[in-house]
């Protein structure tokens, strides 16, 4: 049996990535899939028991109101011992990255992280070298296995349950008092720019090399009627404000057109923009991962292509030629 550990947002809603993890567990095809939920309200229970799972293990304890890795690991070890799964599977979220390695080690096992596919029930596929390579990875025999699956790598659209909700087993877990005191969750000064509704976005990455080249990107954005956005390194360097950042630590966008200029396409960036309807990429490296999700790609020097593109767009303000 595969045990999928679900995660809830602060709002109480089940993280959609956890539903993808359930879909991944099903795709493994090794039999029953159960889910585990720590704390969480009735709506989270309802959302999970409406999934095609055999059973939901619902951990109960006052400490489960706030996430803490110590508490999570102790609670999950108790559920693990009761449920006796052959594999633990969860979405590769920031929270999972925080506690899953600890859980795997506590169980005497290992974590295979950031999995994007399965080759067989025992062999998982994950990116290495920043996505330049893929690796087929297996667990050493006879140890407990924990797997995190990359967000967006598995499709939850096929998750359907016929009939009554899955049964729920309450588990009264007994974690020690947390060593880590967690404060309130907050956002910094409210976001001035909401990119999530922008119909057209021009995003720049490391490839633009110098902040003075941002002017060229601004001209391109103006020529397209686009908002300007960036990958993390650009905002980290202070070349553009943080509220222009697209990716897992920034905004998630889904424009009609996303033009990536000098962005290689690290997964942390892709998760923030792969819902875009059309993706266009300009990059000098033909192996850049951004080209894998691009509908149109230009392999070339952005310092030649972008000025030519600005000129071409300004010369053809009307209807498309074809």
């Amino acid at each position: 049996m595969i045990l999928v550990v679900a995660e809830t947002h602060a709002s109480g809603e089940v993280n959609p990535a956890s539903l993808e993890a359930i879909a991944a567990a099903q795709q493994l095809g090794t039999g029953a899939v159960c889910a585990a939920l720590l704390g969480g309200d009735a709506s989270a229970v309802a959302a999970l028991t409406a999934c095609p799972i055999e059973r939901l293990y619902h951990g109960q304890h006052p400490s489960l109101a706030t996430y803490s890795p110590d508490v999570w690991v102790q609670a999950l070890v108790q559920i693990y011992e009761q449920a006796q799964p052959t594999l633990v599977l969860l979405a590769h979220t920031y929270q999972a990255r925080d506690f899953a390695p600890q859980l795997a080690t506590r169980l005497g096992g290992a974590l295979i992280s950031d999995v994007t596919g399965v080759k067989s029930p025992a062999i998982f596929i994950r990116p290495m070298y920043q996505g330049k390579l893929a690796a087929e990875v297996s667990f050493r025999p006879d140890i407990p296995g924990v797997v995190t699956v990359q967000i967006g790598a598995f499709n939850r659209a096929s998750l359907r349950r016929d009939g009554a909700p899955a049964p729920v087993t309450m588990v009264n877990v007994t974690p020690d008092a947390p060593r880590i005191e967690a404060g309130e969750i907050f956002t910094e000064a409210k976001q001035a720019i909401d990119l999530s509704h922008a119909p057209v976005i021009v995003a720049v990455g490391r490839g633009i090399k110098d902040p003075k080249n941002l002017d060229m990107a601004r001209q391109l954005a103006a020529a397209m009627g686009a908002e300007l956005a960036a990958s993390r390194p650009i905002c980290d360097s202070g070349w553009l404000p943080m509220d222009r950042q697209v990716g897992s630590s920034g905004q998630t966008v889904a424009p009609k057109l996303y033009l990536a200029v000098g962005i290689s396409g690290a997964i942390q960036h892709l998760v923030g923009m792969r819902g875009s309807r059309t993706v266009v990429a300009i990059n000098k490296d033909p192996d850049a991962p951004i080209f894998e999700i691009a509908d149109y790609g230009v392999v070339g020097d952005l310092f030649e292509v972008v000025p030519a593109l600005i000129a071409a767009l300004q010369a053809s303000p009307g209807a498309p030629p074809d």
Binding site: P69, D70, Y94, R97, D98, P101, Q102, T105, A110, L111, I112, S113, I123, M128, Q130, K132, L133, A134, A135, E136, S138, F139, R140, I143, R179, I180, A182, G183, I185, F186, P199, S237, M242, S249, G250, L259, R277, T278, V280, E292, I293, A294, D295, Y296, G297, V298, D301, E304, V305, V306, A308, L309, A312, L313, S316, P317, A319, P320, P321, D322
Partner: protein, 268 residues
């Protein structure tokens, strides 16, 4: 405050990644550099030390702040430690072994904890993940092996009550944050981009030559690839997704084709 910074040497960002004939490793005839996320861990340690020394918050009678850089890697990795010393680390530990690149996150964490047995650190800092194998686990496993609390994706660190406790700002998804507080010793995995990275000064490079660098080996520590809990069966270049159209020609021709497609997608 005594801080251990764990660094890894990884292939340079633009280095070609070529797979060995056995399909389980990459060829090592490439330039190496310090894993960029680990540079931010070092930077965080240097800033903590500077703040304590300048702020006079070194607890009275306590030993001075000390930053120790540690790496688990083959002989070439001593260069990473020299760089860390030149940037301001006080001493270094090299866990040397030709088999180091074959170790998984668990085995590396074993090597780190065994190498520092008998020492006591207030803080252990790592980068968020290594840009080569991308496990993103080593720091958390070190914490588990030491029985220490940990936090990951850390943006800011503030010592509390001298050095007995530490407050750290965690980054959550979607631009949200949270402060967490825990007793030391603690392990923190540092988010990249928390501040501008410094360069080594000429003076620093000179001084680095006289700073202590302790050598130990994987063999002495009893760490070998058989400790690995996960096995790379095969490395390969992933197939590119089909369907995307590559526009060819000169820059001007590419731009013209692109402009036509952009106008089709977003007609004015």
């Amino acid at each position: 405050m005594k801080i251990l910074v764990c660094l890894k040497q990884v292939p340079g960002k633009d280095a070609p990644v070529r797979i060995e004939a056995n399909q389980r490793a990459i060829r090592d005839d490439v330039p190496y550099e310090i894993n960029e996320p680990d540079l931010f861990a070092l930077e965080a340690a240097l800033r903590l030390k500077e703040a304590q020394v300048q702020g006079g918050s070194e607890p009275a009678g306590e030993p001075q702040s000390e930053i120790v850089a540690l790496t688990v890697g083959p002989a070439r990795a001593s260069q990473a430690l020299r760089e860390a010393l030149a940037k301001g680390a006080d001493r270094a530990i090299h866990v040397e072994g030709a088999e180091a690149p074959q170790l998984d996150a668990y085995a590396v964490a074993e090597a780190i904890t065994r190498a520092i047995a008998g020492e006591s650190y207030d803080l252990i800092l790592t980068g968020l993940q290594a840009d080569d194998d991308g496990f993103g686990q080593t720091g958390v496993i070190v914490a588990e092996l030491l029985g220490a609390p940990h936090a990951t994706i850390i943006m800011e660190i503030v010592p509390v009550a001298g050095r007995a406790r530490i407050r750290a700002k965690r980054e959550l998804e979607g631009g949200r944050f949270q402060w967490v507080e825990m007793p030391t010793p603690a392990v923190l995995a540092i988010q990249s981009g928390i501040g501008k990275l410094r360069y080594a000064t000429l003076m620093g490079i000179k001084q680095a030559k006289n700073k202590p660098l302790r050598q130990t080996t994987l063999e002495e520590l009893g760490v070998r690839p058989s400790l690995n809990r996960q096995v790379i069966e095969r490395l390969y270049v992933p197939a590119k997704r089909q369907g995307g159209e590559l526009l060819t020609g000169t820059a001007a021709e590419q731009a013209a084709q692109l402009a036509a497609r952009i106008r089709r997608e977003i007609p004015r």
